[in-house]
C-alpha cells in the first residue's frame, strides 16, 4: 500500500517510467526480432507507448493522432509482413556480424552524444514539480485547427509583428502537406499499379459479363451442333391436350 501511495503521489513520474520503458523496450523488440510480423507488433506497442508519453506531456490531440494515423499506418506494414512471410521464408535474413558491431558502435556513440545534449542544457533538465499535475483538458484541438488555417489563438497576447494574426499560422505548410499527400497518393497508386493489362481488365467488365461472353460463345457452338432439346418456353399447361393430339 505504501508503494501505491508513493506511486500515486508521483503519478506523472510513474506513468512516465512505465511508458518510457515500454517504448524503449519494444523498440529493442523491433531491433532484435527477426520475424517481420513480430517486429511490426512490437512497433505498434512502441508507438502506442509513445502516444501515452504524448498524453502525459499534455499533447492530447497529437497523442490520439499518433494512435490513429501512425499506428494505423503500421497496420499496413504488418499486413505486408504477413503477406510476404506467410508463404515464403523471408525470416532468414540474418544480419552480418560486422554490421551488427559497426551499427552498435555508431549507434552507441550517437546515443551518447544525444544524451549528453539532452542533459546538457540546464534549462531543459530543470526539474518541474509535477506532483499536482493532472491530465488537464488542455483545449488544444481548436487552437490547433485554427493554427492550421492561419490563425494563432495562443499568441494573441504577443505583440510582435511576426505573430500578428494571419501571419504566424501554418496555412502554407498545411496546404503544402495536403498537396504532398495528394501527390503521394497518386504516386503510390501509380507505382503499385497493375503492370500488364489483361483482357479482363481491358474489357472493363465484371466477371458476370465475362461469363456471359463465354456463354454466348458456347451458345453459338450449340447452334452449330445438333442437340435434341425441345425449347417450348410456353407453359406446359396443355400437356394432356398435346397427348390427345
Amino acid at each position: 500500500m505504501n508503494l501505491l501511495a508513493v506511486a500515486w503521489e508521483y503519478w506523472h513520474q510513474s506513468f512516465f517510467i512505465l511508458f518510457a520503458a515500454c517504448a524503449i523496450g519494444f523498440g529493442f523488440g523491433v531491433l532484435l526480432s527477426k520475424n517481420v510480423v513480430r517486429m511490426a507488433f512490437y512497433l505498434v506497442l512502441s508507438l502506442g507507448s509513445t502516444a501515452g508519453l504524448f498524453f502525459l506531456a499534455g499533447a492530447e490531440f497529437v497523442g490520439a493522432m499518433q494512435l490513429m494515423i501512425y499506428v494505423g499506418g503500421t497496420l499496413v506494414l504488418l499486413i505486408f509482413g504477413v503477406m510476404l512471410t506467410a508463404q515464403k521464408d523471408f525470416i532468414n535474413m540474418d544480419t552480418h556480424t560486422q554490421d551488427w558491431i559497426l551499427a552498435t558502435i555508431v549507434g552507441g556513440s550517437l546515443l551518447m552524444v544525444l544524451l549528453f545534449a539532452a542533459f546538457g542544457a540546464e534549462d531543459w533538465s530543470k526539474p518541474q514539480d509535477l506532483t499536482d499535475a493532472k491530465i488537464e483538458s488542455t483545449k488544444e484541438a481548436t487552437p490547433l485547427g485554427l493554427a492550421l488555417t492561419g490563425i494563432r489563438v495562443d499568441t494573441l497576447g504577443d505583440s510582435g509583428d511576426a505573430v500578428k494574426q494571419g501571419k504566424s499560422g501554418y496555412l502554407m505548410p498545411f496546404i503544402i502537406v495536403s498537396v504532398h499527400l495528394l501527390v503521394v497518393l497518386i504516386g503510390a497508386a501509380y507505382m503499385a499499379r497493375t503492370k500488364k493489362l489483361s483482357r479482363a481488365t481491358d474489357d472493363k467488365s465484371s466477371r458476370a459479363k465475362l461469363m456471359l461472353f463465354k456463354m454466348e460463345q458456347e451458345t453459338e457452338q450449340l447452334e452449330e451442333e445438333t442437340y435434341v432439346v425441345t425449347h417450348r418456353g410456353q407453359s406446359a399447361l396443355n400437356r394432356t391436350d398435346s397427348q390427345d393430339e
Binding site: Q13, G27, L53, A57, G73, V76, T131
Partner: protein, 111 residues
C-alpha cells in the same frame, strides 16, 4: 529512483534519443526492406518526442514552444504516413521485380 519528482524535458529527450538510435540501428542492420521501414518510423517517432517535449506547457511552463511543437509533430506524423505509402509502393515494386525484400540484393545501380 532518481526520477521521483524530477521529470523534466531532458528525460523526454532521452527517451526520444533512445528511440532515434534504436531506429537508426534498425535501419542500418535490417536486411528486410520492411524492417528498414520500421526503423524509419522509429526515428521519426524519436524526433517527434522532442517536439512534443519542447512544446509541452506541463514540462516547461516558461519558454515552451507551445502550439508550434505540437503542430510540427502533427506534420511529422502526416508526412510519415505519406513516406510509408511511397516506401511500401517501392517495396512492392522491388518485390515484383526481384522476388525478394532483401535490400542487399538491390544493387543494380552499382556502377
Amino acid at each position: 529512483m532518481i526520477l521521483i519528482g524530477t521529470v523534466s524535458v531532458s528525460w523526454y529527450l532521452a527517451v526520444g534519443a533512445s528511440l532515434f538510435v534504436l531506429g537508426a540501428v534498425c535501419m542500418a542492420t535490417k536486411r528486410n526492406l520492411l524492417g528498414v521501414l520500421m526503423g524509419v518510423e522509429l526515428v521519426l517517432n524519436g524526433a517527434n518526442m522532442n517536439f512534443i517535449a519542447f512544446g509541452s506547457k506541463v514540462l516547461r511552463p516558461e519558454g515552451s514552444l507551445g502550439l508550434d511543437g505540437q503542430l510540427i509533430a502533427l506534420f511529422v506524423i502526416v508526412l510519415a504516413a505519406a513516406e510509408a505509402a511511397v516506401a511500401l509502393a517501392i517495396a512492392l515494386n522491388f518485390y515484383n521485380n526481384h522476388n525478394t525484400v532483401d535490400v542487399d540484393r538491390a544493387n543494380e545501380l552499382n556502377g
